[in-house]
Symmetry: C2
Subunit: 338 residues, 2 copies
């Protein structure tokens, strides 16, 4: 195992206002740290770029905010290079909150720990379709949305890491799937590769009108990754007993003022609808259920995933921004080392 002389780390310098800038972070060099008893040292190989990271940089939400001067929190994966924990050996592949750095010293328990991965599992899968995005799509759609065959499922950020799985799982469960994404290329991928019944380009189309066309009986499940005007457009078309699965609100994450709320929320009253939030952290105890079914679908060629791999730890802020600029084509990853 090749060891770098130093540990490059991105620290949070100031809380971003609006879109995160390079100058909100500072890239420092420190000695490679040594694990103490009960800890492991991980060589980070791949980082996951996730919209929720923007929230962690701002304020306490479902996790405490990253402190100024701390390493930027990020999911990622890599190999154990030193272990002082009986459950881990050198060479083990792990994933978890490793942070924007070459090396992470980790106490492998709880939310801030890491999980051992099966030998040979590609980190692209472990951080995406068989990891947080897969679990988010699976439990969010099935547990919170509770789709019935024949129902109409609409998903936003439909070509993204989570959304692209939601639409495909909806199809596998016998639903109609409509994806909302930005740009013709993503929409083409949705209908031609991912099997969506229709795709709506929110940059070019009038979303509310297109939803009316694509969902003549209304929307039974709207899986929301974006919030804002698209949430309102979906609420306006909610079917009787429709469900809104709140997964995220990327439209709000870089807002500098509190964005307006969904003015069509009273659709929930008229349609006896339900809007419910969830967090994949609550489902880790049931992860195996999802991973088994997702892996089967992949093996049978029924579930397509798409990864967008950038390279170099020095590009971490830019890779994160790709999410908010809509530049990522599927799961955004950043390879840090081989």
């Amino acid at each position: 195992m090749q060891m770098a002389e130093v540990n490059h780390r991105w620290l949070l310098r100031t809380r971003p206002v609006g879109m995160p800038k390079d100058s909100d972070f500072e890239l420092v060099e420190e000695p490679v740290p040594a694990p103490t008893e009960g800890e492991i040292l991980v060589r980070v190989e791949m980082l996951s770029c996730d919209p929720t990271q923007r929230g962690w940089l701002g304020r306490d939400t479902y996790l405490p905010a990253v402190n100024i001067g701390e390493v930027v929190r990020s999911l990622g994966g890599g190999r154990v290079v030193r272990s002082r924990h009986p459950g881990f050996s050198e060479g083990d592949l792990v994933s978890g909150l490793v942070g924007w750095q070459d090396y992470a010293v980790i106490k492998p328990v709880g939310v801030f720990g890491v999980t051992k991965l099966p030998p040979g599992m590609p980190l692209e899968k472990a951080l995406g379709t068989l990891g947080p995005n897969g679990l988010t799509a699976y439990f969010g759609l099935l547990d919170i949305g509770r789709p019935q065959p024949g129902e109409t499922v609409v998903v936003s950020s439909a070509a993204g890491a989570t959304g692209s799985l939601v639409g495909q799982i909806a199809k596998l469960k016998g639903c109609r799937a409509i994806g909302i994404a930005g740009g013709a290329e993503k929409c083409r991928w949705l209908t031609e590769v991912a099997g969506s019944d229709a795709a709506i380009d929110y940059k070019a189309d009038r979303v509310e009108q297109k939803l009316a066309d694509a969902c003549p009986k209304g929307i039974d499940i709207y899986f929301d990754n974006v919030g804002g005007e698209i949430l309102d457009a979906a609420l306006a078309r909610l079917a009787f007993h429709g469900r809104v699965v709140l997964c995220g609100a990327i439209a709000d994450y870089n807002a500098t003022e509190p964005p307006p709320g969904p003015r069509n929320y009273l659709a929930l009253l008229n349609q006896r609808g339900r809007m419910e939030g969830f967090n994949v952290l609550d489902y880790y105890a049931r992860a195996q259920e999802a991973v088994t079914e997702l892996a089967d679908w992949i093996a049978q060629g029924k579930l397509k995933d798409r990864v967008d791999v950038q390279r170099g730890l020095e590009n971490a802020p830019a890779a994160l921004r790709r999410l908010f600029l809509g530049q990522n084509q599927g799961k955004q990853l950043l390879r840090v080392a081989n």
Copy 2:
């Protein structure tokens, strides 16, 4: 049975803008109509004033809007004075959508029909605690809110016809109950008569601060009758796995522009919360469950109700406005005849 020579009827003349004015309606005199086969003629004795009537005057919601020139839709009760329906006899007491008029010809089936009441049941009870308000409070709190003993339940319009029952049922089910109402007198009634653990006067208090004081562990269930800023204040204090039961939005009913949505809706995401709408119409098949338990509580002195009876069909618009001016002390009724 005394028969008036004419039937006084309030017709909708124009759709109200903002608060309904007398001039939005027209009081006309018509001959007392005759029922045809399958219909009954009801002498209206008591009208129920309900916030949802404001919605019916505006546009199609869960029921089609009242048409211009039609009698104003209203719940009420009275006696059958002529029957051409085999299930009804002269003298039967009924309740349902009788409208703002002395006499109603009704086909007693479906949502727009009437239901026979037990002989001797006071119309004050049939139109309130053992009628729509009781069912709304009972099923909204228990079926949608699903309270657990020890949880904190907050209700708005807490001294109103539905809200006053929600708080008391919450207490009967072992919860803490906090009521939000307008004015010291209503708040006094909540804590001294209805047994609420705390009352918040939204006209005098800073609601968000008072909610923080009264709900140190957050709000497990918020039963919303008002929408607007109070909904946002409650969302800001939502507990983990908290539920918002959407029953109404009186703050919005007279708004002339679409009011803003709840900007704190992302509390549902961070707290894994659920916001769900319902309508009592969906629960009529299960009405007996609720009526049995509610009547028991009343008989045992455990459930206090409060009615505010105005008099005279000519005062119907004014009686309806009392709801939106917060003048009603409990269930607003209008006695039309003895």
